[in-house]
């Protein structure tokens, strides 16, 4: 009799633990949480980008590619990616001249003759897909978010167009799409990367100045790039957890 009771208590305990874990797991199973698109595991990726400043030739092919891929309006204010030309006077490094005519959609015009030698280079810009995005933190309705695979996205059906996030982004990566009056930004070509393709800008960049990387994939060349090069994110003092690393970035770049 005594043995039976011990056995009963043991079994009851096991059952309780099993039932408990099943109860915890059930909502996740029901929501199909891990699987959003067939063949794509949302939590098996962690996307970022590396940019080699010394390879950028300012041709603007990335800008044209992005606008064609994502149906972005052709005005300079509405650009998900753009290229900036820096002209730095070595005697006044704190005040670089920066321009980006038409977001570099047509490349860059000839700057004309200079009276003295100036340091000059191109810097491609896009959403940095920060891990701790200031833009996400200020959204009052949960219309923008960091996805489980590390991409900062916008829910256009939820966005009010209040523009808080545009002010919060330290990199100037957001704008209002005048067609919908909702905010728009780089999605890291979410519709492409979830299907095994690279982003449109990386696909068309003729010099390989930018490369998409999956930080959760140990075989991705991004690990080698980050290991072998001295890299920097934009505005590291803002602790945004930016996942866009620049190689060869000059201190004058903001």
């Amino acid at each position: 009799m005594k043995e039976d009771r011990r056995q009963f208590l043991k079994n009851a305990g096991k059952l309780l633990v099993l039932a408990g874990s099943a109860a915890v797991a059930w909502p996740y199973i029901r929501e199909e949480r891990a699987q959003d698109a067939p063949g794509y595991q949302t939590d098996a990726h962690w996307w970022g980008m590396v940019i080699d400043v010394d390879k950028c030739i300012g041709c603007g092919t990335c800008v044209r590619g992005c606008k064609a891929e994502n149906d972005v309006l052709l005005t300079p204010q509405t650009s998900r990616t753009w290229v900036e030309r820096y002209v730095v006077d070595p005697d006044d490094m704190d005040h670089p001249r920066v321009d980006s005519p038409n977001a570099a959609y047509d490349g860059f015009p000839d700057p004309g003759p200079q009276e003295k030698p100036l340091k000059t280079f191109y810097v491609p810009k896009l959403c940095n897909h920060c891990e701790h995005s200031p833009c996400v933190q200020v959204c009052p309705v949960g219309a923008t978010f960091e996805s489980p695979d590390g991409v900062v996205l916008v829910d256009k059906s939820y966005c009010l167009g209040c523009r808080y996030c545009i002010q919060a982004c330290p990199y100037g990566c957001r704008y209002i799409d005048p067609r919908t009056e909702t905010v728009d930004k780089c999605t890291l070509c979410y519709h492409r990367i979830t299907k095994g393709l690279t982003t449109a800008c990386c696909e068309v960049c003729p010099t390989g100045a930018r490369a998409l990387g999956d930080l959760k994939n140990p075989k991705d060349p991004i690990h080698k790039f980050l290991l072998e090069n001295k890299v920097l994110v934009l505005k590291p003092q803002m602790a945004t957890g930016s996942k866009t690393w620049y190689k060869g970035l000059d201190g004058a770049v903001r």
């Binding site: 929501e31 064609a68 490349g107 700057p111 960049c205």
Partner: protein, 152 residues
Amino acid sequence: MKYRFGDYQHVLRMAGIFALGTTAFFVFRAVMVPKDFGVYGHYRAGALKDNADRQIQYAGHAACVDCHSEIQQMRSGGKHAGIGCESCHGPLARHAAGQMSGAPEKPNNRDTCLRCHTARPSKPAGFPQIIPADHAREGACTACHPAHNPKV
């Protein structure tokens, strides 16, 4: 005026209104908040699918090479070997999917080249650049430099 313990009707009325308001709030909230809000975080989980469901415009290099292997052969080892086909040829996902009738338009063989190869002081020093006015005023670049495997 004598205080009477039985005078609590006004409190009940207030409590009733409060209970009704609270119920109305939770009912309204349950109706308005989408079912998938908060599955991953403070946002609608369906927004991931919305973002992933866009139409692709650039087929990607691998899709081009699938059919045009002879061009890939021609390019290999050359200075343009690393460039995606659609960098010059434009977005051709519909062509790759067989939804486009006829051959896609060929890129302009002067403007396309000059977009990258026009000399600018901001370009990296090692990049091959020309001043069009000095190098060749007009004509197709491809007359001397075959686009898929250019010789300098």
